[in-house]
Every structure is written in structure tokens, then in C-alpha cells.
Subunit: 237 residues, 2 copies
DNA sequence: CGGGATCCGTAAAGATACTG
DNA sequence: CAGTATCTTTACGGATCCCG
């Protein structure tokens, strides 16, 4: 358990003992991103089984990365420790390294609309939307089969954004028709939202203000090194 | 193999796919430290099996971290790629984080003279020794049983340092009698060589010049944040 | 529904021996 | 020296079930 036993005199080896077990760094990312509850973390780390999440959280607690906390209502939760917080910049640097070095073409050849939407969901900045109201954005990927074509992001300031795969039957504030590759590329920071719009790979119809403030609320991957107006590498299909 | 399949839109997840498999980062450390040959890497990464090293090197090559090279004599070898070199500062930061945060008391309660000597061996700076000659340093840990008490470092400038567990029958230039905990603490950078000497936990007898230049050739863990004259936390047993 | 525990089949990792 | 081949052990991942 605690003695996977690399060379105990090499700090890197000690670090590996802690961060190497599968999912550990991703759980840490989720915690850093604000998740506290078990199922909240689980939603943020797609693919992990509850069994393994439970196990990892215990290991991480034992290693001093995570602390169990009880809310005033007695509800359980998890937070990062100071030690884990010190690790954040390292993980950030790791993400930037990966973003710089991972083959874009390979990534853009393995497209997945649902996963993309799930990721975007987590990065929508709801504070940019009018408070007290619900903002609904409908995404349409015309190239996909009907069952995978439409997605709805339902956002209220102060609440987590909902992703709907079925029509939520709510008034839509903004329709976005997108080429999947272009949307992926823009979201990953390999091109820009504006360049995809200019080349008609992204078409926005609806609330003018939402369109004008697009870059404010559709926050791109935080690992992108360059700002939003960087050069686009390539775009539509 | 390549599709352990975390979330493919999260750069950290992509990075984890690459660096998470056991031993990967330690192999990278060895390569960065100058190892090129298979068995050279293997010696530098204590505990790895040849099977796994072979497998990892292939995976790392496929991920773009490692490049196979043939020397002019046709001998096989491995080097890091530019992508791997960019990762070096991240690994360095990871090591510093671990060095800062890992429990010293716990580490100092699991002492291992042989592993310590093996680690020191790799960090001896032979360029500080007189060129063309062989310098032999004998370590004695009086507290240990006879079979684990004595170690010899045999160094020649320009060559890797040898660690002997049996008397090499060569003239000894410097005798070091040490308390194991103190030697470990000093080497890890949790105390200083001088403070351990002052408290008699380290006793050096032999070549005056070697003793005077001790800090020059006995290089401490490169992950220690503070310089050699930092405050000692604690020392002998 | 949140927060797990149990069981089981598969996929890695570890130990050892052996070969070109 | 530079690896392969083989075998055993451990970890992971999936499904199911339990409890408040």
C-alpha cells in the first residue's frame, strides 16, 4: 500500500509513489477545481469507478494530499491539503507541457462530441450570464447522427452547469451550429473561436450579448499557453 | 496500449497517460542524468526488471519521449527527445515538492546503508579529484552488523564511481566513520555535512584536501531547496 | 441519490531464468 | 551486453449490492 517501494532516497521516486497510482492527479485536479463531494468528484473524473475513487481518496488522505471534512450539516466531503496545493503549479506545468506537445492531428482524429460537451460544461463561466435567470445554449453538430447531434448547456449563475442530451424544453438563448473538429480545435486552444466563426465552421444565432461576450463565458482549456488571439493552426473539415 | 483512455480533452489526463506507468519518470531521470545504455539505465533505476525496462523504453519511444540511437560502433542506446527535455523542469519541480513535503522523521526511521551508498555513488563529482589517479573513500557505519558496516567508493575522474561492498584492497585516501542517520540526513539535505562533523556524527580521517573540499565532491540531492549552509533540523541518534 | 463495500475477471507488474 | 520467455502476484476495472 504505502510501500510500493521505489528508491526511498530519491525525491522523484517518493513523489512517484504518491502521484503515480491511476486517477490520482485527475482527482487532485477536480478537487483543485472546486469539487468537494464524492459524486461531484466522480462526475468530474469521467470513467472512474466508485470503488476506485473511494480507495484513492483514502490513499491520498493517508499520503497527506486530501483531508476529509464534515460540513456543518454533517455531510462528508473532501478538500486538498497545503501539501497538495503546493503540487498544483507542478500539475499545471504538466498540463501545459502536454498541451504543447501532444499531437493535435491525432487528437483531432479522435473526436467525441459528448466528451467535448462534458468538458465544456465544466468550464462555462456562469458569472457572465444575467443573474437569477436560466441561460440555455443549444449545440448542434450537423455531421453527426441524430442521436448524437444535439446538446444543451443549461446555466444559472452560482450553480453548476447542466448538460442535457435531450431537449430540456426550455427557451434557447443561443444556438450554436458547429463543425465538431472546429469546435474541438477552438476549445482546445489550437485555433480561436473567432477564426472558426469567420470560416463559418461555427455559426451562432441568438442573443447578441451572449455572442459578443462569447470568449468571456466559454473559457478555453486553462493549459493553453497562448492567449485567445493566437494564430490558428488549422480549422474546419 | 496507447489507449488507456482517460478523458482525451484534458491535457493533464493526456500527460498522465504518458508519465503514469510505473518507472517511466525514473527512467527519464536516469536518461537526463546521462545514462544511455540499457544496463546503465537499469543500474540507475534500482529494482526494475529488464523485462519491464525494455517494455517501458518501447512505450516511451512510441510516446515520443525517447529515441533509440546507434553509436558509430553500432552499439544501441537511448536518448531523450526535445519533448522529454521540456518535461525535465516539471520533474525537477516535482522532486523539490517531494523533498519539501515528505516526512523526514518517517524517512529517517527507515534507514538503509546500502541504498544510501548506492545513491551517493551516483552523485560523487569525480572532477574534484586529482586526474589520472584513483581516489578511494571508505565508509564505516559502526552501529551496523559487520556484513553491512563497510563500503568503498572508488572514483577516477571521467569514470563512473564504483561502489564496493568488499574491501577493494586499494590504498584508502579518506576514512569516514558515520552515524547512519546523520549521514542520511546530511545527504538528503535535512542537515549539513559540517554540522554532522561538528557534532561528531561524522568523523573524517585522511587526505586533508579531500576533507577541505568535501562539499565539492559529495554533492547532495539536487532537489534540496536550500543551499548547504541551511539550518540543520536534527542530527545524530 | 450519495457514499460506499464485495466479488470477480482481466491486465499490468514482479521474479527468475534463459538466449543471441 | 541487451534484451526475451515464462510464471506468479498484484492491481485495475466492471457489475452488483448495501445502507442512510
Amino acid at each position: 500500500m504505502s510501500s510500493d517501494c521505489y528508491d526511498s532516497f530519491c525525491p522523484v521516486a517518493k513523489a512517484c509513489d504518491i502521484i503515480e497510482p491511476r486517477w490520482t492527479l485527475l482527482i487532485l485536479c477536480e478537487l483543485s477545481h472546486g469539487a468537494t463531494r464524492f459524486n461531484e468528484i466522480r462526475r468530474g473524473v469521467p470513467g472512474i469507478s466508485p470503488t476506485l475513487l473511494s480507495k484513492r481518496l483514502k490513499e491520498m488522505e493517508q499520503h497527506g494530499l486530501v483531508r476529509r471534512v464534515e460540513s456543518d450539516a454533517g455531510e462528508p466531503g473532501y478538500t486538498t491539503t497545503a501539501m497538495a496545493d503546493e503540487l498544483k503549479p507542478v500539475v499545471q506545468a504538466l498540463g501545459k507541457w502536454a498541451h504543447r506537445n501532444i499531437d493535435k492531428e491525432v487528437s483531432l482524429s479522435k473526436l467525441d462530441a459528448r466528451l467535448l460537451m462534458w468538458n465544456m460544461r465544466q468550464k462555462i463561466d456562469t458569472s457572465a450570464f444575467p443573474p437569477g435567470t436560466t441561460t440555455v445554449i443549444q449545440f448542434t453538430y450537423p455531421e453527426l447522427i441524430e442521436s448524437e447531434r444535439h446538446y444543451w448547456l443549461v446555466a444559472r449563475p452560482g450553480h453548476p452547469v447542466d448538460l442535457c442530451l435531450l431537449d430540456p424544453r426550455h427557451e434557447v438563448d443561443l444556438f450554436i451550429r458547429a463543425d465538431l473538429k472546429a469546435m474541438t480545435s477552438a476549445w482546445m486552444g489550437w485555433s480561436t473561436l473567432r477564426s472558426e466563426i469567420n470560416s463559418n465552421s461555427l455559426v451562432l444565432i441568438g442573443d447578441r450579448k451572449l455572442i459578443a461576450t462569447l470568449e468571456t463565458w466559454m473559457v478555453r482549456s486553462s493549459y493553453a499557453a497562448a492567449p485567445e488571439h493566437q494564430v490558428a493552426t488549422r480549422a474546419s473539415a
